[in-house]
């Protein structure tokens, strides 16, 4: 049986460059939360000339890159359980305080992995129904509270199935919550008129992207190639 979906794109952006593209959205002084998976890579590449406060659900503000082998502090982890370092100006607090900060609107950007994003900006990122049991973690709180949500994901799943949908088919994390989607093919903004393609990865055409997108894309008048 052949796949009903187009071939995956031959030369998508590597994960490192997707993350580098997301990093350009971070500005000095911002509070940023990085979801599990791909977004956590950002912690290691934030430029030294800006001060970003990375927020971790488990009660840390201002953590830094992964700890070097042998220099791990046993009680300093990111929400994924990886040992991280602290930047100067960090603080610890409990989980209720941590999510108070999130719901209270103090997170400027939440960068989250995604399974599906709809043209209305609905996000599904916690459960693949055929696996049966998912993990919500802090994602629902983050999409409810963060000022801006950036979803970062491969443009399609491994079988080529589009992840940018007219409607999500997986259980939702939140409705109308995603502002920007960064994929291995493009950058897409969620507007009140649906999805707008604003940037293309090097070597990717508008057709390449639309072919692999379930929702209809509009084109930004300022459509350009992704910068890193």
């Amino acid at each position: 049986m052949t796949s009903p979906f187009p071939e995956p794109f031959s030369n998508p952006l590597p994960r490192e460059l997707m993350v580098l593209r997301v990093c350009r959205e971070l500005k000095d002084g911002m509070v940023v939360n990085l979801g599990l998976g791909l977004p956590t890579l950002l912690a290691d590449i934030i430029p030294g000339d800006i001060d970003i406060l990375l927020h971790a659900e488990n009660g840390v503000l201002g953590y830094g890159p992964y700890a070097a082998e042998g220099e791990e502090d046993p009680d300093t982890i990111n929400p994924g359980g990886a040992h991280v370092t602290l930047r100067p100006g960090a603080s610890f607090f409990n989980s209720a305080e941590s999510f108070a900060l999130v719901r209270g609107g103090r997170v400027d950007i939440a960068v989250l992995g995604a399974l599906q994003v709809s043209e209305a900006g609905d996000l599904a990122n916690w459960m693949v129904p055929e696996r049966g049991v998912g993990g919500i973690g802090g994602a629902m709180d983050l999409v409810a509270g963060a000022k801006r949500v950036i979803a970062v994901m491969e443009h399609t799943d491994r079988s080529g199935r589009p992840k940018l949908m007219r409607e999500c088919t997986f259980p939702l994390t939140g409705r109308r919550c995603v502002d920007t989607v960064v994929t291995d093919l493009a950058v897409i903004q969620v507007t009140t008129d649906g999805l707008m393609l604003t940037e293309l990865a090097p070597g990717v055409s508008v057709e390449d992207v639309q072919l692999r997108t379930d929702a209809k894309l509009s084109l930004s008048p300022l459509l350009q190639e992704m910068q890193f």
């Binding site: 009680d75 990886a82 610890f92 409990n94 989980s95 209720a96 609905d122 049966g132 973690g137 629902m140």
Partner: protein, 231 residues
């Protein structure tokens, strides 16, 4: 006033069948391992457990078949191939599940400790979490009504404790420990170190003595997180 118990076994001795237990720890950091293992040995059954995840701290209790209901934000791990003890027993119908977003879980426990029986939150509107819940609109936005969570016992790990029950956690060991410690009828704390009242600076107490019923000194070394145990 002396809340120090001689052993973890003595501290969990009156946990009864059907009790509701909050279990601290986050991906193993700040996990009350000695109390967890004492509870496994004690063997109280049909426990309702509240923990932010099911894979690490809960494993000994679930594997021992003591848990019949789980309130958690991470029942499973979408990105991990292997199946956990929880998932196996949940799919076999042996454990009931209530999935709660992590921030709502923290806030419900905080509400239990703070005498707030219910509150409105924006988290989960338009998702399966909203099913069966009242909602209301405030200032043009929809919110869900969530109820407090309380427990018969909370098991927490502190870095330092005194015999009055004052607790200080270390770094991200604070997470859920400091919240759960406020919301149980009997809060049981294991501590790496037990000091005299006054040795923890009054500015550095994270959980005031009023919340804590029992304190036990850890017999093993300091807890460590699982390196890179990414969920």
């Amino acid at each position: 006033m002396n809340k120090v118990f001689e052993s973890a076994a003595a501290a969990v001795e009156d946990v009864f069948d059907g009790a509701t237990i909050m279990v601290g720890g986050f991906v193993g950091v700040g996990a009350p391992w000695e109390l967890i293992h004492a509870l496994v040995r004690h063997g109280a059954r049909n426990l309702t457990c509240i923990q932010t995840a099911t894979r690490i701290e809960m494993a000994p209790l679930i594997e021992a078949g003591l848990v019949s209901r789980m309130i958690t934000s991470f029942p499973g791990y979408a990105s991990v191939g292997q199946i956990t003890a929880f998932e196996r027993r949940y799919k076999a119908g042996e454990i009931e599940l209530e999935v709660v977003p992590q921030g709502t879980l923290a806030e419900r426990i905080r509400a239990g400790g703070a005498g707030i029986p219910a509150f409105y939150t924006p988290t989960g509107v338009g998702t399966i979490v909203a099913e069966g819940k009242q909602s209301a609109w405030f200032d043009g936005r929809e919110y869900l009504l969530e109820r407090w969570l309380k427990a018969d016992f909370a098991l927490v790990h502190a870095h330092r404790a005194d015999r009055f029950g004052n607790l200080a956690y270390r770094r991200s060991g604070r997470a859920f420990n400091a919240v759960m410690a406020t919301a149980a009828t009997v809060t049981i704390a294991q501590a790496s170190e037990i000091v005299e009242p006054g040795e923890i600076d009054p500015e550095d107490v994270h959980t005031p003595a009023a919340y804590v019923g029992r304190v036990v000194r850890c017999t093993t070394g300091h807890n460590t997180a699982r390196k890179g145990a990414e969920e």
